[in-house]
Amino acid sequence: MRSVLARQCLRALAFAVTLLALLGAAPQIGAQGGEPQYFAIRGAKIVPVSGPPLENATVVMAHGVIKAIGKDIAIPPDAWIIEGKGLVVYPGLFDSFTDVGLPVATPAPGGANEGAGGGRRAPPTGEISRGPEDRPGTTPWRSAADELTLSDKRIESWRNGGFTTVVSAPKGGMFPGQAAVLDLAGERASEMVVKTPVAFPVSFEPRGGFGNFPGSLMGALAYAHQVWIDTDWSARAQAAYEKNPRGVARPRYDRTEAVLGQAVEEHMLVLIPANNSVQFRRAIELMDLWQLDHGDHVDAVIYGGQMGYEVAGEIGARKQKIPVLVNLKWPEREKDADPDEKPSLRTLRFRDKAPSSPAALAKAGIPFAFYSGGITAPKDILKAAKKSIEAGLAPEAALRALTLTPAEIYRVADRMGSIETGKIANLVVTDGDLFDEKTKIKMVFVDGKRFESREPEKPKDPPKGDMTGKWKLAYTTPDGPEESTLDLDMASDGTLTGTTTSKHGTASIISGYLSVDKFSFTINIPIEGNPTDVVFTGTFDGSTLKGNIDVMGFSIEFKGIKPSSQAAATSGSVIEGRARSDSSVAGGAQ
């Protein structure tokens, strides 16, 4: 009952906050204080990953941390209780290598010239690099943690897909920067950071053909090695100079060497790319050359890993097993491939066998984790993981590669990766087995904050008319009339996609449909740092839209017309609107 009260309070607060947001004022009141701090999921199947699954068990979260887990445990009196019958609770999923949370298309200054994949590269732009001394594509001081933005839509979509945690790294260049472990929620971007830095990825992507060093794979490899040697030399020369600065020329300062030197000293993980077996072996050689295998631990991780089925035995035979991050974007025939194209047998075998790599790695005792690679929809990440199960991987191992193993690889298993007392309350709650395609993700907890997942709504009946096109929406906030534009695309089944643009910015429609003449579409915008749904519902009469905008439990009316037909419109574009509190429009608690 207390939870209902809490919700009422929340709603009252939300009203005030939203009002301010809609007004465009700079709100001074934060949302803190109103959020529940205690949750309990009661009577659910709990899969801790660190131990065997528990049937009909309870997990209690308090202040962002897992407080207790078990059969008969006390639930704090002020906890929001979720009845878990029919639900399965997993640790929050972990995407072990991505750039979710980072602004898209921010190439490193002087970073890699990303040409149209594989083809002849365009003439290099920006600064021309004439050798290693120009430090091409080298920005190891960049830190994912410092570049985060909440405006990345993938934060929400990943979270809706069950992912609570990612390791994100800056992209672009050969030493793009430092990776951080992030939890996918926070009022401010920096709140997402769980640990930084945890690793620095390297890539051997050449820059620009004949115009820009390095222009070849061998150039990139040689360059990386020269940087490594320079870093080592810099540390030793500096130390020697500090001991006795008189009579010797002072060693130069180099930002790259300073940052990498520090990283090496702190045993930070180096992420080395290797997808096919040639690259795998090359990565191992590099790891040995750079002395990253310390006998008792390895400061290197391979990413790519899709030809693991060919080299797992070899790598598994090493005393210290180098962990592998497996790219779940399995190789496949290009969509627009020449139908007459006859790929080589080796290519065909690779495409066929790639999903069996995780099973091979597991068999060889090599720790591995999954990452989304080029996958853009989170539900496809689980589908891809399932492919590896179909190719022989135990489902438990697949789950582990999405939870505890990545936490172990990045050395944060002391705080996350499994459902254990004291760990961060990152959970994903489903209505069935995670890898079952019919399973729906019901809710996600990130740092003990609850997020409800929704499947995009589907139209029930075929649409009447076509809403495709540009619309002008008009409504009145307590501050006066306001307009925004709507750019819609409607599929033949009535599914709506597109964007809305107001003076507050542009947002994409995350879910929408037209069913007969009833439409509904939802955008999600940050209000007070919290991603918040704004739902547009109403009627489409063939030429105009009429309905309500609902935000966190209150509602204003709006009307929409196509600017092209504005002249023909009978009345003015602005209609009266009013704001009203409506706590009965449920925000979605149980």
Binding site: G118, G209, F210, G211, L217, M218, L221, A222, R282, E332
Partner: protein, 504 residues
């Protein structure tokens, strides 16, 4: 080579066992398991072209532990020996291609700089390159894998054995002196290449090429001195000496100065050939081989006097201005003037018939049968400093052998088997017999893919199931060759001419 029952009294059974053994040897699909080394092999009844000491009719070669243990006419097969009856067939030492660009991952040129000695072909060997297998099918067992010719001083190079199926680390020829590519003339001065919008790279003249090499070696000499001074200070008890920074670009040039690394210089014109020989003399190093060296016949005496080898084409010319004065007599003339000459491919396809390329020198210049054969076996071995191990059929050398069905210098000769270190890496009969199975597997896999795609499409078409994923092209294995691999130095079909086709 037919497998014969050595002991006539044990008839077909032995033959079948041997047959099975042989068939279990090489797996000819890419990245397949390497063939096992049979402990002892006896090839008998063959016409053996030893290259070093004439021809042996009805001869036998005994192979033990991958080495040639005996060569003669009356060798008794030891127990457990696999016996191959090579009646009517010809055995020669494995062909050595002194100028190759196969088995390289990515571009063969680090074309961004005029001195790219920092890069090393050995770092990017790709053992899955199908050209390795194709070269094997042409009888090639050793290749000098060179960096391209985009730079006055190019990258470090490596001599490999074509051990198809083994990982990259097993390809380099053990103990072979590493090399470095130099290039003179039109390619390094970028006469025939330009990238729209890009600043032209220095040098743009032959004078500039010379200056670039000279400057680089002056730098290397200073760098070497810095290290020598440091070593002296340390050995003199100076504990405060800060070590010089290791420079991966200058290290190989110091090795050249110290005679620990061979210079393989791409060149065409007589003037630039003489220029390089002068510069090398000035800095006190030797040019190990001149590559292409199409005007070598004009300065053959000077090349011979410098103790430099020449590795040329049989009869390619006029594909660019600096190749106008080439003649097919080049190899023969240089040979007659005392130069160690080899004929190379510079091209994966050409490499599959180097025997024929060598044969042309019999017509153009009148080399003897053995002299011609030497151009692709013993001579390149000498040039690469590996003649103690390979290049001829002599006791103690590696069992790198090629079996032809005809005289290898005949246009009808087809390679039947290619052995490296006594292992069969190419077997023509086996290849043919496996083609059907491979085609079948390929078809089945393509069918499987097609079905999966159709299934996926059907799922996506289900109303409301508008999946976001799978819009982008999937990851691809790195088997597609970059365009830079096209030889820019040689004539070829017009459709493959690329604007900046990697200079060779």
């Amino acid at each position: 080579m037919r497998i014969a029952s050595f002991e006539i009294l044990k008839p077909w059974r032995t033959a079948v066992v041997c047959l099975l053994c042989l068939f279990a040897l090489p797996c000819l699909t890419p990245a397949a398991a390497p063939p096992d080394a049979p402990p002892v092999i006896l090839i008998q009844n063959a016409t053996i072209l030893t290259v070093s000491h004439g021809t042996i009719e009805h001869g036998s070669i005994l192979i033990k532990d991958g080495k040639i243990a005996e060569v003669g006419t009356s060798i008794k097969a030891p127990k457990d020996a696999q016996v191959f009856d090579a009646a009517g067939q010809f055995v020669i030492p494995g062909i050595i291609d002194c100028h190759s660009h196969i088995a390289v991952d990515g571009s063969v040129n680090e074309g961004s700089v005029s001195v790219s000695s920092i890069v090393n072909i050995a770092d990017v060997l790709n053992p899955d390159d199908i050209d390795i297998y194709r070269d094997l099918a042409g009888g090639v067992t050793v290749a000098n894998v060179l960096h391209g010719s985009a730079n006055s001083i190019g990258g470090q190079t490596v001599v490999i054995k074509l051990r198809w199926g083994l990982p990259a680390s097993k390809l380099p020829f053990e103990g072979a002196v590493p090399g470095i590519k130099f290039a003179l003339g039109e390619n390094p001065k970028r006469s025939n290449f330009s990238i729209p919008g890009a600043t032209p790279r220095y040098p743009t003249t032959r004078m500039g090429v010379e200056e670039t090499i000279r400057t680089a070696f002056a730098e290397a000499r200073d760098y070497k001195k810095t290290w020598d001074d440091y070593d002296k200070r340390v050995s003199g008890g100076d504990k405060n000496a800060i070590p010089p920074r290791r420079d991966l670009r200058l290290d190989p040039l110091v090795e050249v100065l110290e005679g620990k690394r061979y210079v393989h210089a791409h060149c065409y014109r007589e003037d630039e050939i003489l220029m390089l020989l002068r510069v090398a003399k000035e800095f006190g190093f030797k040019v190990r081989t001149l590559q292409h060296v199409l005007e070598g016949y004009k300065v053959a005496d000077e090349i011979a006097a410098a103790g430099t080898g020449a590795s040329t084409f049989s009869d390619w010319w006029a594909y660019k201005v600096e190749a106008y004065d080439a003649i097919p007599y080049n190899a023969a003339i240089m040979t007659r003037r005392g130069v160690i000459v080899s004929v190379n491919s510079d091209d994966a396809e050409e490499a599959t018939h180097l025997n024929q390329e060598a044969a042309k020198t019999m017509k153009y210049g009148g080399l003897t049968h053995e002299e011609a054969l030497k151009l692709v076996t013993l001579n390149p071995a000498i040039q690469l400093g590996i003649d103690k191990r390979v290049g001829s059929i002599d006791v103690g050398k590696d069992a790198d052998l090629v079996v032809y069905n005809h005289d290898p210098l005949s246009a009808y000769a087809v390679v039947q088997e290619t052995l490296i270190d006594g292992r069969v890496y190419f077997d023509r009969k086996r290849d043919i017999s496996e083609r059907e199975a491979r085609e079948k597997e390929k078809k089945a896999l393509m069918e499987k893919e097609k079905k999966a795609e159709e299934k996926k499409k059907a799922e996506e078409k289900k109303p409301g199931a508008a999946g976001e994923g799978g819009k982008k092209a999937g990851a691809r294995p790195d088997e597609k060759k970059p365009e830079e691999k096209n030889p820019g130095d040689k004539p070829k079909a017009p459709q493959t001419v690329a604007v900046s086709g990697g200079a060779r």
